[in-house]
């Protein structure tokens, strides 16, 4: 059985050595190279064609995310695992989008690291437990949204609903401002917001939308 060939990219030598020493004693693993910036990582990855690339997100010259995108777009065989200090799911999304297969926090244990490598090599994704919790939360909240109808998804505020009703009553911006005791500019802003949120370009379309979703009759709200 061939050893798993691993390339490590991190600008911190301390980390680099740490990972090396962590993985040295693991069977079937072979560290074939190191890179200390994004550009070097891309070059070495494409040249050495490792099985696994452990890459830091924050690196000089080229970020881990960008390097990952370049590598995976050119060689789909190379599995990339982000090795990051960031818990923020924004980073997770970004690097996954860039083609990475796993996301590990740097202070993960050796066992976790090995698990991740094996999981990823088997074609699955792997995320650190701290990160996966967040991803699941996000997933749930997104699911909530998907349950409602697509159009209702756009939330209209109380004020916006008031204004839509007044527009349906054929009131001018000036009249609306007077009725709500707000400035004309504010009314205009609300109006523009409504149009943009509902993706309508005319008052007719807006009123049609309002009738369709039963926004006109105030009793329903």
């Amino acid at each position: 059985m061939n050893k798993i060939r691993i390339l490590i990219a991190d600008d911190h030598v301390l980390i680099l050595k740490g990972i090396q020493s962590t993985l040295q004693l693991v069977d079937n693993l072979e560290i074939i190279g190191e890179a200390t910036n994004g550009v070097e990582a891309v070059e070495k990855a494409l040249f050495l064609k490792p099985d696994i690339l452990l890459i830091d997100i924050t690196m000089p010259r080229l970020s881990g995310i960008e390097a990952c995108r370049q590598i995976t777009s050119q060689n789909r065989e190379i599995k990339v695992i982000a090795l990051s200090q960031h818990e923020d799911e924004a980073y997770v999304y970004q690097i996954i989008k860039a083609g990475a297969s796993g996301y590990l926090l740097k202070n993960s244990t050796r066992e976790e690291l090995v698990t991740a490598i094996k999981t990823v090599l088997s074609g699955e994704k792997y995320f650190s437990p701290q990160v996966s919790d967040r991803l699941i939360n996000d997933l749930f909240s997104k699911k909530d949204r998907e349950q409602s109808s697509v159009e209702q998804d756009v939330h209209l505020t109380q004020r916006e609903l008031q204004i839509i009703r007044m527009i349906a009553e054929d009131l001018t911006n000036q009249e609306i401002s007077e009725r709500l005791s707000i400035s004309l500019r504010t009314t205009e802003t609300h109006r523009r917001n409504i149009m943009l949120k509902l993706k309508v370009n005319s008052v007719v379309a807006l009123v049609r939308y309002a009738f369709k979703h039963d926004l006109i009759n105030p009793d329903t709200h």
């Binding site: 740490g18 799911e89 202070n107 939330h155």
Partner: protein, 581 residues
């Protein structure tokens, strides 16, 4: 200048001349009359002489008739007649002598008397009967008598002719005198008439000329040329009038100069000055006020001031008027009663202080303040980012390195000591906690995701965490965000969201909250709405208040944005923030 010859004097002189002429005419008339009177008197004398001479002539001629009759009839009665006739003739001669002037030859009459004496004596001889004269002797006496009387008659005739001639000469003198005096008087009259006409013409011309000159100057003055002057017309009353008029002009000029001076001062003032009458219409206005009201003096005078400003409630009021050019002018103005000499209120005096420059400077200062505030915020954010990054990429990395060291130690020492192994594990977990703490601090300083990926990922991440941590259901939606916006705007909006979320968590008692970001072409709108208890947005004075909204409002204002709050008790809160981008 003294009047040398006034009109009255002139009139007096002229009248004197006229008077002299009249006297002259009267004198010449008088002389003429005197001459006429004298000649007529002489003529009367001559006529009397003539009459007497005629009488004498008649008497003499009648003398011989009784003698002739005696010769014929021899009647002695005739002698008496003869005698009476002779004496009558003598009487006549005497009378004639009494009348006759010295110019005549009296010898004639003396001779006549002698001749009459001779005739008388001849008559005596003739009529003496006692002599008994023969007829032829008587006849010859008669002839002698007749011859004598004839001679007398001839002499008398001569005398008569002389007298007649004299009368004629007097008549002629008279005629000449009348002619001359007529000519003289007529000439004098004509001369006088001419003089009077000429004099009056001169006087009238002079008066007309002077008055015309004065009138011309007055016209010039009324047309505004105050610096004109009447030329010295003459040395009479008109001259005096001209001098007085010039003096008056000079005085007016002096007064006018001072009025111009005041006008210059008023028109050079920085402040606008307007005087209105009791009805509120503009009476006078200086140039600055015209500039402020945006129209010309002609058009502004007479128009109502209420078109621009209202009488203020306080003595000094700040306002922003829209002038005739449609420009808004900020100003500070005051209304004061205009009191006239009688102590009555005649209108109002309005002083307007232009605040345009001040406002410009204020807005500049304001802008500088905003820019400073932005710069401070920016510096703060930068510093936070630096610390966050340092924490993340420095300390956390180092701690991670420590983790790896511990792990390798673990491997090396795993067989040695159970106790040591446990201690290492504990150390490792402490380092992990330290790493987590560092990450938390870093995230609280600024989420690196915001810096790295922008507002939308950072906010959705924030909402996720909120939903994870709290019971309130947070929703986040964005509209129209295809690209990232300016990093400063991202940060300020993120901070505003953080602040709003804190407010919601602390005060709202809401169960739901919606955060929405809408990207317009030139602005970004952030709406934060909750269904909580809300609050009164206005205090009893009517000014907007907010719970912890002041700093937010300041932040928004600094970036040139607008923050509007819509809230009322138990009706939720809706924050709308529009920032230009």
């Amino acid at each position: 200048m003294k009047v040398k010859l006034g009109i009255v004097d002139r009139l007096v002189y002229s009248s004197s001349i006229v008077l002299i002429f009249i006297v002259l005419i009267a004198a010449s008339g008088h002389i003429c009359i005197r001459i006429l009177k004298k000649t007529s008197h002489l003529m009367v004398v001559e006529f009397k002489e003539l009459e007497k001479l005629q009488d004498v002539l008649l008497a003499v001629s009648e003398i011989k008739s009784p003698a002739q009759a005696y010769l014929n009839n021899g009647d002695q009665q005739e002698y008496i007649t003869f005698k009476s006739r002779v004496s009558a003739a003598k009487e006549r001669v005497d009378e004639c002598l009494a009348v006759l002037t010295d110019r005549h030859n009296r010898e004639y009459l003396d001779q006549l008397l002698l001749s009459l004496q001779k005739v008388d004596s001849l008559g005596d001889t003739l009529f003496r009967t006692e002599l008994n004269l023969k007829p032829h002797e008587r006849y010859s006496i008669f002839i002698r008598m007749a011859e004598a009387t004839m001679a007398d008659l001839t002499r008398l005739q001569g005398l008569l002719a002389e007298t007649k001639q004299e009368v004629n000469s007097y008549i002629k003198t008279n005629e000449t005198a009348i002619l001359h005096s007529t000519i003289t008087i007529a000439a004098l009259g004509l001369l006088l008439t001419f003089l009077v006409i000429y004099g009056s013409f001169l006087l009238i011309t002079r008066i007309t000329k002077s008055s015309k000159q004065l009138l011309a100057t007055i016209t010039e003055v009324t047309q505004g040329d105050i610096h004109t002057k009447v030329d010295l017309i003459s040395h009479d009353e008109f001259g005096e009038l001209a001098i007085a008029f010039n003096l008056m002009l000079k005085c007016i000029d002096e007064i006018t100069v001072s009025r111009d001076h005041y006008n210059n001062i008023l028109n050079s003032m920085f402040d606008g000055l307007i005087v209105i009458n009791r009805n509120g219409f503009i009476d006078s206005i200086n140039s600055k006020a015209c500039q402020l009201l945006g129209d010309s003096t002609d058009r502004l005078v007479g128009s109502s001031l209420s078109e621009f400003i209202k009488p203020p409630e306080h003595i000094l009021t700040e306002t922003c008027l829209r002038n005739r050019k449609g420009i808004k002018v900020p100003l500070l103005y005051s209304f004061n009663d205009l009191i006239n000499q009688d102590g009555e209120m005649a209108g109002k005096v309005i002083v307007m202080h232009d605040l345009t420059q001040q406002k410009e400077i204020e807005s500049q200062i304001d802008q500088i303040k905003k820019d400073r505030a932005i710069a401070i915020l920016e510096a703060q954010e930068k510093e936070r980012l630096r610390i966050a990054t340092d924490l993340h990429d420095g300390i956390v990395q180092m701690l991670t390195g420590v983790c790896y060291s511990i792990e390798s130690m673990e491997r090396e020492l795993v067989c040695l000591n159970e106790e040591a192994n446990a201690k290492l594990k504990e150390t490792r977990s402490q380092v992990d906690i330290a790493i987590a703490e560092c990450r938390r601090i870093s995230h609280n300083l600024i989420p690196l995701a915001l810096h790295e990926f922008g507002l939308i990922p950072a906010l959705s991440q924030m909402v996720n965490q909120l939903n994870h941590q709290y019971q309130i259901e947070f929703h986040f939606q964005s509209f129209g965000f295809d690209n990232r916006v300016d990093a400063r705007i991202e940060k300020v909006l993120y901070r505003i969201c953080q602040e709003s979320v804190n407010n919601i968590l602390k005060h709202s008692q809401a169960t739901q909250a919606f955060i929405q970001l809408i990207r317009h072409e030139e602005s970004i709108v952030l709406i934060v709405e909750d269904n909580g208890i809300g609050f009164e947005t206005r205090d009893h004075k009517g000014t907007a208040i907010g719970i912890g909204l002041d700093s937010m409002n300041e932040r928004v204002t600094n970036f040139g944005g607008v923050l509007t709050i819509q809230s009322s008790a138990n009706n939720g809160t809706e924050l709308t923030i529009e920032l230009p981008c």
